[in-house]
């Protein structure tokens, strides 16, 4: 493992820790929009993590996976937001 790879891996670690923070918000809520937001952010983290992973492993095939995750993250957030609105008081 080169130094570069190790450093990138270190960044991945930071992202992973950051994910835990997201997960905490996801669990804490308290409102549904809070959770939705946490979900959205988590998706961004996943994208970042995979992107860093791509840098280490040169698996360009994963780039499209990033695309999919990004799209899903956005669509999911919109959907949840609308879902909340539809069911509002």
């Amino acid at each position: 493992m080169t130094l570069f790879e190790m450093l990138i891996a270190g960044l991945m670690g930071v992202v992973a820790v950051s994910m835990v923070l997201c997960a905490a918000r996801l669990l804490m809520g308290p409102s549904i929009p809070d959770r939705a937001m946490a979900f959205d952010t988590l998706m961004i983290h996943v994208v970042a993590l995979v992107a860093l992973y791509v840098i280490i492993t040169d698996q360009l095939s994963l780039v499209d996976a990033i695309l999919v995750v990004a799209v899903l993250g956005f669509l999911g957030t919109v959907a949840i937001a609308r879902y909340i609105e539809e069911g509002r008081t």
Binding site: I56, T57, Q59, S61
Partner: protein
């Protein structure tokens, strides 16, 4: 690595078992989902060595990368994932309908068909 996955699998099975033993239909379903996660990981672990960094994509000459992951388990899991998705959807619809018919989330209320 295997031991890591084994712990994850064990905890998934344990959690799933606990959840399906609850009275709430919601937890039951979540337990089933968790169970399928556990099984998928289990199959994954059964592959020809759990490998890092070499997905089963061969190059233009048809040569697999060194240490390529076991593609067969991946195909099997893919099948299993999709199947369990179908089942999850069905169980959800069923839970919804029986909740509608029985008017309760408590699984213990669903015992009339067994009564002697």
């Amino acid at each position: 690595m295997i031991i890591l996955l084994a712990i994850a699998i064990g905890s998934l099975f344990a959690g799933a078992t606990y959840l399906v033993l609850r009275r709430s239909v919601v937890k039951l379903i979540l337990g089933l989902i968790m169970l399928s996660h556990g099984v998928n990981l289990l199959i994954f672990t059964m592959g020809d060595g759990v490998r890092r960094g070499a997905p089963p994509l061969v190059d233009a000459q048809g040569q697999p990368p060194a240490g390529a992951a076991d593609p067969l388990v991946q195909a099997l899991i893919l099948t299993a994932i999709v199947i369990s998705f179908g089942f999850t959807a069905f169980v959800l619809a069923l839970a919804y309908r029986s909740n509608q018919a029985v008017g309760s989330d408590d699984l213990d209320d669903l015992s009339t068909t067994d009564r002697l």
